[in-house]
Amino acid sequence: MAPVGTRILSTSQVNQKEVTVAPLIEQRKNRPLAPHLTIYQPQLTWYMSAFHRFTGGAVAVGFYAGAIAYAVGPLVGLGFDTATITSTLATVPVAAKVAGKFIVAFPFTFHSFNGVRHLLWDTARGLTLKGVYATGYTVLGLSTVSAVALSLI
C-alpha cells in the first residue's frame, strides 16, 4: 500500500501560449496556400494595378539605392559621385545604352501616367468599366511612346 501523503501524479507549470498556439503556428507554416494570382482571369485592371506597384517599387529602390550610396559612399570608400557615374556610363556601348534607358524610363513613365489615372479616380471620374479600360489603354500607349522617345535622346 502507498504511503499516506505521497502524490501519484506530478504537475508542472505550463505556458498556455506555448502549448496551445505554437503548434498551430507550426502547422500553418506547413500548409499550402490556395491559388490566387495564378487562377484569376488575366485582366487589364489588376495587371495594371500590380504593375503600378511593381514599377513604383522598382523606381523607388533605384532612387533609394542611389541616394544612400551617395550618402554612405565616402564612409566606406565607394567612389560614387557625378564624375564616376558619367564616366562609367560613357564607356557602355550605344545599343546597351538605349536598351538600358528604356528599361529605366518605362517603369517611370508608366508609374507616372498611371499615377495620374489614379488621381483622376480620386476625383470620382472615370469609375466605369469603359472609363477604366479607356484610360488604361491610354496610359499604356502614352507610357510606351514616351519611354521610347526618352530612350532615344
Partner: protein, 111 residues
C-alpha cells in the same frame, strides 16, 4: 472609442494624394527648366516621402504581423524609416555639394 489621431485615416490619404499631385508640376518644371536649387531641393524631399509611403503600404500588405510577427513588422517599418532618413540626407548632400538631381539625370542620360 480611441481618440482620433490626425495621422490616421483620411488625413493621411489627403496628404498622400496632395503630395502625388504636387509631383506632376514639379517634374514638369524640372524637365522643362532644367536644374534649379529650389526644384532640386523639393525633388529631394517630395520623392523620398512619396516612396516612403508606397513602401509603407507594401509592408502593411505583404509583411504584416500575422505573417512575420509583431516584432518582424516593427523591424521592417523602422528599417524603412532609417532608409528614408538616409535617402533624405543623401539627396540633401547631393543637391548642396554636388550638381543637383536634375543635372545628374541630364548628364547621366547624355553620357
Amino acid at each position: 472609442i480611441p481618440p482620433p489621431n490626425q495621422l490616421h485615416g483620411s488625413y493621411h490619404w489627403d496628404f498622400e494624394r496632395l503630395l502625388s499631385l504636387s509631383m506632376v508640376p514639379l517634374f514638369a518644371v524640372s524637365a522643362i527648366q532644367g536644374s534649379h536649387p529650389i526644384t532640386d531641393g523639393l525633388l529631394g524631399v517630395v520623392v523620398p516621402i512619396h516612396a516612403h509611403m508606397g513602401f509603407d503600404a507594401m509592408i502593411t500588405d505583404y509583411l504584416h504581423p500575422v505573417k512575420v510577427g509583431v516584432a518582424g513588422n516593427k523591424a521592417f517599418v523602422w528599417a524603412l524609416r532609417g532608409a528614408t532618413v538616409l535617402t533624405l540626407v543623401g539627396c540633401y548632400q547631393f543637391n548642396t555639394s554636388d550638381i543637383g538631381l536634375t543635372e545628374l539625370i541630364k548628364k547621366a542620360w547624355e553620357a
